[in-house]
């Protein structure tokens, strides 16, 4: 900034004056002040000289032949455009009307004839300060404008990368409705959905503290972990643990992510929910009534891995039921009167709706009504998942990334977990990973995962833990089943589950043989016969599913070893 110029700053000054003597006097005065003078004898010449010489300041006689001072000032101001070129009228006029006309034409000030040297010097100096200040402001404005354009450019590129990483997954599935209002290009809220290899899906909805870039940066690793682990077959609680650990490590203290994770299993007709810091969610029953899903955990990124609890709460869910979750932007939506919609507002809006995923639009309308269609002050995200019949669930294979690698064809492996590990670790992602190294099996990873999962769950829950699946038929028994599962997992010291996988090439493709053996007492498949019709028999549903997926299935006596053979065809 050079607003305080030294007294000697030399300016280029245009003097337009038709009287030769007056012009001579003024030229001398101005030159002696150290400035460079450009002379003109009438208005038209003044405009021409202005165009050629680009002076810093203009001294203009009001009354001149050919073009008077007023018109000349107008043209000079138009030529100067954005630049401030002070125009000072030289005048012997004294009536207020004429002086005002000079200013109206674009003049900045007057100097009365005869000239006073001191006043002339002071005015030139003052207007130069104004000129320099104006130029500085203009430059700063242009800089800011350019920086802003650059920033927007960078943001839109970053947004493309961001959208590729934090894509919306299977949010467009027909049984999902959602609404997400971005407050800026980036959004403090996150909303992801990913199909599981075994069918069903995981959904993650969350709200980072803050908005914009910091929130978006946190969202990227969350998306990577969420999609990566879900696709590989990890359970929701394992995904949560990993995300929490990652956020705890990378986020500064004070920044975290309020979130809810959903594990929807349409085959079993159940949803598992983990709510850490989001407002109440609602499981809306088709038959009427609702189950409220409270936040029971600290947000993600707050607790150390040792203290973090990733236990989901499981609910039975039937086709037609819907699960609604939202970020706190919905509750905090406020109108002109600054009154928030609040917990009560949301609750009554939800009650008024009943059931069905359309509750999202209903609630968004309610928020609009409340805020009088004011732009959202916060980020607001809602999602409703409608529970559907298993066969309506959209497929998984389409979303799976393809690898160019051919992979092994002739191999076998054995993997056993035992003791307390049974309760703490799921071998399924690992086994699926081994299988999907075979390129032909990658296409049917859904079927492979389901077979592995059914074999494993049968072996663990019914073989090792000896839990009766009839319990799961009622809501009370359902909770009891999971409590008991948790309890019995603590005493599995002498137990094991062993998988043996074998793969070989065939003429038309390949053959995968999976054997799963457990340390339990086994069961007699024949004894389960009488219950088969109601589908609630011992391991009944799981075995039926295995039978459907596998080409061959053998159960040994006493029923603690199951072998399935699966053929795939080369395309």
């Amino acid at each position: 900034m050079q607003t305080s110029l030294p007294q000697t700053a030399s300016l280029r000054i245009l003097i337009a004056e038709d009287s030769d003597s007056d012009r001579l006097i003024l030229t001398r005065l101005v030159s002696r002040l150290g400035h460079q003078v450009i002379e003109a004898t009438d208005g038209a010449e003044a405009v021409r000289r202005f165009r050629e010489a680009k002076p810093d300041l203009v001294l203009l006689d009001a009354l001149m032949p050919r073009m008077d001072g007023m018109e000349c000032a107008r043209q000079i101001k138009a030529l100067a455009g954005d630049e401030l070129v002070p125009v000072i009228f030289l005048t012997s006029l004294t009536d207020a009307g004429s002086l005002a006309d000079c200013l109206d034409a674009g003049g900045d000030d007057f100097i009365a004839k005869p000239y006073n040297r001191v006043i002339l010097a002071a005015k030139i100096q003052a207007f130069n300060r104004m000129r320099v200040m104006h130029r500085t402001l203009t430059q700063q404005r242009d800089n800011i404008r350019a920086r802003n354009e650059q920033l927007l450019d960078e943001q839109s590129i970053a947004k493309r990368v961001f959208d590729n990483v934090a894509h919306t997954g299977c949010l467009d599935a027909p049984h999902i409705r959602y609404y997400a209002s971005p407050m800026s290009i980036f959004n403090g809220d996150i909303l992801f959905a990913c199909p599981r290899p075994a069918g069903g899906m995981h959904i993650l909805i969350g709200d980072f503290t803050g908005h914009g870039l910091p929130a978006a940066i946190g969202a990227m690793p969350v998306a990577e972990i969420f999609y990566g682990m879900t696709t590989k077959g990890f359970a929701a609680s394992e995904v949560l643990q990993e995300i929490n650990q990652k956020l705890r490590r990378i986020l500064p203290t004070g920044m975290f992510c309020c979130a809810a994770m959903v594990e929807a299993d349409f085959h079993l007709g159940q949803v598992g929910i983990w709510n850490g810091g989001l407002p109440d969610g609602f499981l809306l029953r088709r038959a009427g009534g609702k189950t409220v899903v409270h936040s029971t955990h600290l947000p993600l990124g707050v607790l150390d891995p040792d203290h973090f609890d990733a236990t989901l709460v499981y609910h039975m869910a039937e086709p037609g039921d819907s699960l609604l979750l939202m970020t706190d932007g919905v509750l905090e939506a406020s109108g002109a009167d600054d009154i928030m919609l609040g917990e009560e507002g949301v609750r009554s809006a939800v009650s008024a709706w009943g059931s069905g995923a359309g509750v999202v639009e209903h609630l968004v309308d309610r928020v609009r009504e409340h805020t009088n269609r004011q732009p959202d002050k916060d980020d607001m995200t809602l999602i409703a998942l409608e529970i559907v019949e298993e066969q309506e669930d959209t497929g998984f294979a389409a979303t799976l990334g393809q690898s160019a690698l051919q992979g092994p064809v002739q191999w076998a492996c054995s993997y056993e977990i035992s003791g307390p590990t049974l309760g703490r670790f799921s071998p399924l992602p690992l086994l699926l990973h081994v299988c999907t190294q075979v390129s032909g099996l990658r296409r049917c990873s859904g079927a492979i995962y389901t077979m592995l999962a059914e074999l494993y769950n049968n072996a663990l829950e019914h073989g090792v833990l000896r839990l009766p699946s009839e319990w799961k038929a009622s809501a009370g028994g359902f909770a009891r089943y999971y409590l008991e599962r948790q309890r019995r997992l603590c005493s599995v010291e002498d137990h094991f589950i062993r998988f043996e996988l074998r793969h070989r090439q065939t003429d038309s493709g390949g053959e995968l043989t999976i054997t799963c053996e457990d340390s339990g007492e086994g069961f007699d498949p024949a004894q389960t016969g009488p219950h088969k019709e109601d589908g609630a028999c011992y391991a009944g549903r799981g075995l039926m599913l295995l039978q459907e997926l596998a080409d061959e299935m053998t159960i040994n006596m006493p029923g603690n070893r199951v072998e399935v053979v699966y053929h795939w065809q080369a395309t």
Binding site: G254, C258, T296, L298
Partner: protein
């Protein structure tokens, strides 16, 4: 002043009172309140009796105070919460980290 501090006579308890909205705009003042205190504080009390609103960045600031006060070994009491403020604290399950009454 929207944020006031008070030190007990023995100097061991620092009370921080927040008036009005507790959000990002209070960030610097809230940090100053405990960082500029003389050493020797054994317990912090965050008095929210005149706090009308608390947002997620305020939750973050409470976590910063907790870290400053020694993390798991810290002693921080959050008291006199209004209904709304209390609701926000419990949605985030901050009872697990702070002594809230």
């Amino acid at each position: 002043m929207p944020i006031e501090t008070h030190r007990s006579e023995d100097g061991r308890v620092l009370t921080i009172r927040i008036e009005g909205r507790f959000d990002f705009s209070s960030h610097q003042a809230f940090r100053d309140a405990y960082e500029h205190a003389e050493p020797g504080v054994a317990q912090y009390i965050v008095d929210l009796s005149d706090t009308t609103y608390l947002d997620s960045s305020a939750l973050g600031m409470l976590l910063l105070l907790r870290d400053y006060a020694g993390g798991d070994g810290s002693s921080i009491r959050i008291c006199n919460c209004s209904g709304d403020v209390r609701r926000i604290l419990s949605i985030s399950n901050f009872e697990q980290l702070f002594d809230i009454d």
